[in-house]
């Protein structure tokens, strides 16, 4: 396997021996099932795990692509992901800028702000569901205290608010990640640049737009893409809080696929939708790779 450059006689066989367990695991546990799933998407497989009668058919793809539910699921997925990214980056950027400053208790503030990232997904889903409780929840209590706010929404059981409610939970859970990465990015921007700009007469606002944002371009791209990819695959929040409802308002692709396979026993079309999701993920991943591989610009 090694071409040359082995300094030690063990270098001849060591790389192969070290790599094959992981490559084997990926091949057996990831790639083979993926291919098998792709195969099933062209069959009439019903109950997941059982066999199929018709070996090759495009019916699933036909059905899936003409089904308005699929397009609704894609729409929900995109809104959910974009909403998460916008909320998470805005909040994360604010937190990063605040944490980048010197103040007493910065260490503690930093720790507190990071906490949501540390909470298990199931716990976050349960706590927020309790907080969203339309009758006894603390969220509606807070809204009732606020002036000029008419009737409080029923959040998770209201088709108009359910998706927003879940986006809020996801933003709460993911913004610490955005904050930490952006903070690390902020700290790589040289102070000299800010000082030079200040001497040139740039106001703090200008400095933010002329130095901070350009300096964060790459980091920002990474944060946005990772958040998109993670939100695309997020299952727990929707599954536990709304089960895709009410009336499909939160029926994201991942949840839709799950129910297609396990509630409606249409494994074939579940896998066909999986192939769709796979396509979207691969596009995002390729963009991610392109961004991270791009050489640092001067």
């Amino acid at each position: 396997m090694p071409k040359s450059d082995y300094a030690d006689s063990q270098d001849r066989w060591l790389p192969a021996v070290m790599l094959w367990p992981m490559l084997g695991a990926i091949a057996v546990l990831v790639i083979a099932p993926l291919l098998w799933g792709l195969r099933i998407s062209f069959t009439d497989s019903k109950m997941i795990g059982l066999g199929f009668n018709i070996a090759l058919t495009l019916k699933n793809y036909n059905a899936v692509l003409t089904d308005p539910d699929t397009w609704n699921a894609i729409y929900v997925t995109v809104i959910f992901s974009l909403g998460t990214v916008i909320g998470s980056v805005t909040l994360g950027m604010t937190a990063a800028i605040v944490l980048d400053r010197e103040f007493i208790g910065r260490g503690i503030a930093r720790m507190l702000i990071i906490l949501p990232w540390a909470v298990p997904h199931v716990v976050a889903a349960l706590v927020w569901q309790w907080m969203y409780n339309p009758d006894f929840g603390v969220v509606n209590y807070a809204l009732a205290l606020a002036p000029f706010f008419g009737e409080t929404p029923k959040w998770l059981s209201d088709p108009d608010f359910a998706l927003l409610a879940i986006i809020i939970v996801n933003v709460w859970k993911t913004y610490p990640f955005a904050a930490l990465v952006l903070l690390a990015g902020l700290q790589t921007i040289s102070d000299d640049l800010y000082e030079a700009a200040a001497i040139d007469g740039a106001s703090p606002v200008r400095r933010f737009f002329d130095i901070t944002l350009p300096g964060l371009r790459r980091v920002m791209a990474i944060v946005v893409l990772l958040l998109l990819i993670w939100s695309f695959g997020n299952f727990v929040f929707i599954f536990l809080m709304t089960q895709g409802g009410p009336a499909g308002a939160t029926n994201a692709l991942v949840v839709h696929i799950y129910f297609e396979a396990f509630r409606f026993f249409r494994a074939g079309s579940a896998f066909a939708m999986g192939a769709l999701l796979l396509g979207m993920s691969i596009v995002l991943t390729l963009i991610y790779i392109a961004v991270t591989r791009e050489p640092e610009h001067a």
Partner: protein, 292 residues
């Protein structure tokens, strides 16, 4: 002259006021951000120690009641399977962490130190497997595991977790190995150690923090995981904490005090580990993205 002095004085006052206002705004912002972050935790704990009778009151009391009860933290272990679920999760997470770190470290070392054909491809595969939504792996894996009779067993679940955690561990550790100067290993090779000898005497001792962090990271991912567990596990005695917690949610009535107590117990180990790891995780998860 006097005119200028006055403008200067006014300038000074304006400046002072704006500085003070800025400080105030910053303070407010910090306070706001912190409360947004921790309020749900606070509410979890407050709810868990509130007497059941007071749970469904409106308006809710924001402070803990005077007659707080801590009994859920005890009774949970008697009335529910929480103890069992914790043990299951611990078993799965500890094993996953160990195996993923071991094989991940081997792969990471090979990718970090050797130049060979297919290196870029291997790295690409490593990244791709991390980027897929879990359901894309879970569904077909379910089919395969059903055939292999691996469903509804903790061993099967562990195997499934390894599928995506070995690549994650490899990526995290590669960043770590890359940071160890190659000259240390070269010096050791010249001093008379073999490659493996060098790995065990020099590289691994120096990467202990990285290995520990990777281990803990894999631990919390397994601890947190829900989708695979939900799909693969049926029997309540095989439930992990995620499944157990989710099962509390009743169709009509949910015992929120107990749910919140259980949630607090489940959160504690994960949160402690997370806080210990945070700076390392940022580096690992965005490896190559942020310099320094």
């Amino acid at each position: 002259m006097r005119r200028r002095d006055e403008t200067l004085a006014v300038d000074q006052i304006v400046r002072r006021i704006s500085i003070a206002a800025g400080r105030l705004a910053l303070g407010g912002l910090i306070l706001l951000l912190c409360s947004v972050a921790i309020f749900p935790f606070y509410w979890m704990v407050v709810t868990s120690i509130r007497p059941s009778a007071q749970l469904f009151e409106f308006p809710p009391k924001l402070l803990p009641s005077a007659d707080s009860v801590f009994s859920p933290y005890v009774t949970l272990f008697e009335t529910s399977g929480l103890g069992r679920w914790l043990l299951n999760s611990a078993a799965v997470s500890l094993t996953t962490g160990l195996v993923a770190t071991f094989f991940g470290a081997m792969a990471a070392y090979a990718l970090s130190r050797f130049r060979f054909r297919g290196r870029r491809t291997s790295e690409m595969m490593l990244l791709l497997t991390q980027m897929f939504p879990a359901i894309l792996l879970a569904l077909p894996m379910y089919v395969v595991f059903a055939r292999l009779n691996l469903l509804d067993s903790l061993a099967g679940l562990t195997l499934a977790y390894l599928a995506f955690l070995i690549p994650v561990a490899a990526a995290l550790l590669k960043a770590f190995f890359d940071a160890i100067p190659v000259e240390l290993e070269e010096a050791s090779l010249i001093d008379g150690a073999s490659r493996l000898g060098t790995l065990f005497r020099i590289t691994l001792p120096l990467s202990l923090p990285g290995l520990a962090s990777t281990y803990m990271f894999c631990f919390i991912i397994s601890w947190d995981e829900f989708l695979f567990a939900r799909m693969f596990i049926r029997q309540p005695e095989n439930w992990t904490v995620s499944l157990g917690l989710a099962s509390f949610k009743g169709e009509f009535v949910t015992p929120w005090d107990q749910v919140m107590a259980a949630a607090a117990i489940v959160t504690l180990p994960a949160a402690l580990i997370f806080l210990a790891l945070q700076s390392y995780l940022v580096r690992g998860l965005t490896a190559g993205g942020v310099k320094g």
